[in-house]
Amino acid sequence: MPFGLLAPWMLWVAAIVIPPLVLLYFLRLRRRPESVSSTFLWRRAVQDLQVNAPFQRLRRNLLLLLQLLVLALGVFALARPIVESTLTSEPSVVILIDRSASMNTVEEDGRTRFDRAREQARRLVRTFNQTGSRWLSLFSGVESLTRVMVIAYADRATVVSPFTTSMADVLDRIDQIEPTDGPTNLAEGLALAEAYMMQTRLEQSTESTEQASSIVLISDGAVPDLRDQVLRADRLRLIPIGAAIDNVGITSLRIQRNYERPEELSTFIQVTNFGDKPITTDLSILIDNRLVTVQEVTLAARPVARDDNAAVSETANVWQKGLTLTVPGQGLLQARLARRDALAADNAASIQVPAPRKLHVLLVSEKNWFLEKALAPLPLERLDALTPAQYEAAADDRLLADGKSIYDLVVFDKHNTDRLPAGNYLFIYAVPGLPGVGVKGEVGEHAMLWWDETHPVLRYVALDYLYAGKGLELELPERAQHLIEGPHGPVLARVLDEGRQCLILGFPIEVSTWWRNLPSLGVFIYNATRFLGSGGALAEQGSFRPGDALRIQLPAGVREAQLDRPDGSRDLVRADLSGVARYAGTDRVGLYQVPTGIPGRNRFPVNLEDPRESDITVRTDLDLGGVQVEVGDQIRNATPEIWRWFVGAALLFALVEWYIYNQRVMI
């Protein structure tokens, strides 16, 4: 390994200090005066000895030599020698620091992985551009400096520090990185890094085309598969962080109001043990901080042979339970694990329970007997009907409250509209006026080719002998979810847009065989009403993931509100014209609250619920584009300085010198 000095100017000090020592040695040699009767014999003896022993002079100077050695070692230690890593020679280095949720794992020493990663980054940065002292450059010419860039990534990658040669700046910036509870999105980090590196290469291309660049990844390796990623950097090195594996986490928490008995709440909880020991712990469930039930959770150790593709739920280290709780009103449901483990973020999860209520449904139709028949038996609070003309003409307060549709579901039958406040819509043989949604044309008679039986909307819906007499060839945005496919494209699709959830059915019910199979249609309408009216809508989302944007509906007239973050700090959110404020700073798990918001819609629990992040096992077998990533050593010291060895050697030689001085008679 090449050898360097952090303070090479100390060598000048050596040049200044050593000659006086030599001088002092000869001047000094404080000899003890001793009277003798005659020096005459002594002189003769000394002369004789010098004549006979050619090494005597050297021996006499042994102490001086040792002192010089001690001094040289001391000065050398002060010059802060380092064993440089080979990285130092590279012209540009991108440091990618993982700040995803798993990096919050507390290691044995009480520090989190993120702290360690930051420390590693600092140490790494300190090895750059340290030999480039101006003093030394007098001799070695102008050194090319290493340009360092720092990117922190979790669910999103951010440039912490652009390419710079000022290491002090980089260190400052590294200190400012905050950990998050977001998922790992290394791909974005790499893409960002490469984008910048390409840029610098273009900039530098006039000078030299052979600029090497490398990426140092400081992470616990908990990254999703990166086989698709192609590495364009010359070198990627992973510095693995962390060792702890003991973690039990809540990997899923779902609730749903019972459709028929709305005060009943079905709760689904999944707890996974990622550690290597079987555990038993208690899971408490609280609603609005009131303990409702405690469940004992017994989990086996994680299977040794890990297959990422196997369904997590199949193994014994996963505990799943569905509970039925009675929650008469709205509230915040919390699940807490009693056990302390390395990663705290996944030990609790909470979810906002909506108030129970029966559905309000609006049917916008020119008299559709089949639809009315299908909707009639549903346990609805209210079923209103309007003609399309009435709908378009209706006053805002007839349809809207707090920027949101007052109906839980609006069914449009053969009526295209863009009057769509936030809410849930079922379009039959019609399309909503949403961006990317349209009609490409009419199609004739067709059958259904494929449908997603697992989707709640299509559960128990028999579509095998369904023929449509005509239909629309739908134009859908890419993010649309196709639920039924026909020969000409999607027939039933789910489209989400800005708090609106639409199901679009491409053919009219009465011009199909569906009405003849009334149970099937009835089940579909039941499912659709239940799905759209109760859970799925974004506006009523009960919990969020780190990094999700919060859509906060503020009371009418309120333009600004204060948002309390889980760590106790506060942010100000501003509403847009429709009274909706957006907040994207959900980087930590916990409860985000807007005290002045609309009650019941002002609490936003953010949960980890990510088995990938909860799995804190350090992985070093990172596979990137089919290439195994080189695993670097931990940078143990701030700089791999070795001055201690020199100080130790200096002390040792000082001891030897002392010994020899005292034993000179022995020489």
């Binding site: 005066p33 001793e34 003798v36 005459f40 003896a45």
Partner: protein
Amino acid sequence: MKGERRSRRKGDSAEFADYRNYVSGDDLRFIDWNIYARLERLLLKLFMEEEDLNVTILFDTSGSMDWGDPHKGLYVKRVAAALAYIGLVNYDRVSLFGYSDELVHEMRGIRGRRLVSQVLGFLDNLEYGGPSDLTTVARRFAMTHRGKGIVILLSDFLDKGGYQEGLRYLVGRDFDMYAIQVLAPDEIEPALAGDLKLIDIEDEDVAEVTVSKPLLKKYKQMLTAYCTELKDYCTQRGVTYLFTNTRVPFDTLVLSYLRQRGLIR
């Protein structure tokens, strides 16, 4: 005037002592012609000398004697006093000379037991100091004293100017010479170590030495060689040499060692 002591020197008494080879210039009267007739070699007959004894005690009072434990100077004084006493008691002419680079203390030609107290007083009042210069002293002594008698030289012989020339002057005057070298134990086995600035107490000469084991060994070798050289020099010139260490009790020296060497009976 003949005394009652039988001198080691050959003289003209009736008592035959020895033969020696003739060298040109010898008195022809002493050639043993009988031997010549028999062996055809010229041999000289030597006779015992009987003399009125001059006992001269020359002792070193230079700075180097003011050193050592037991003190060399005191030791020399005691020996000198003992020898002077013996001389006085035997009714010999006793002279005492203390020297450094010059004959600085003198007590000449005293005779008789009653003067012992004077001798002791004289010795008691001696001061040590100055460099030793045996050559100058011996030359001066030899110029002012002619032949005959015993000369006892008490010194450490650590003379930077060398002892050879001085001894040669004395030997040349045909004295019955005794040289007693007195050294302190610390000179024989120096208890020194480390980086030292050795200061010569005689002339303030400074020698910077780093006392190491080989140096000590070398020093002892040098000392032995020096003493041996001195001894050989003396023996070759008929000077009785005696080495003593101040740790040897002076009475032992006087009563046994000197008796063995024939200085006293």
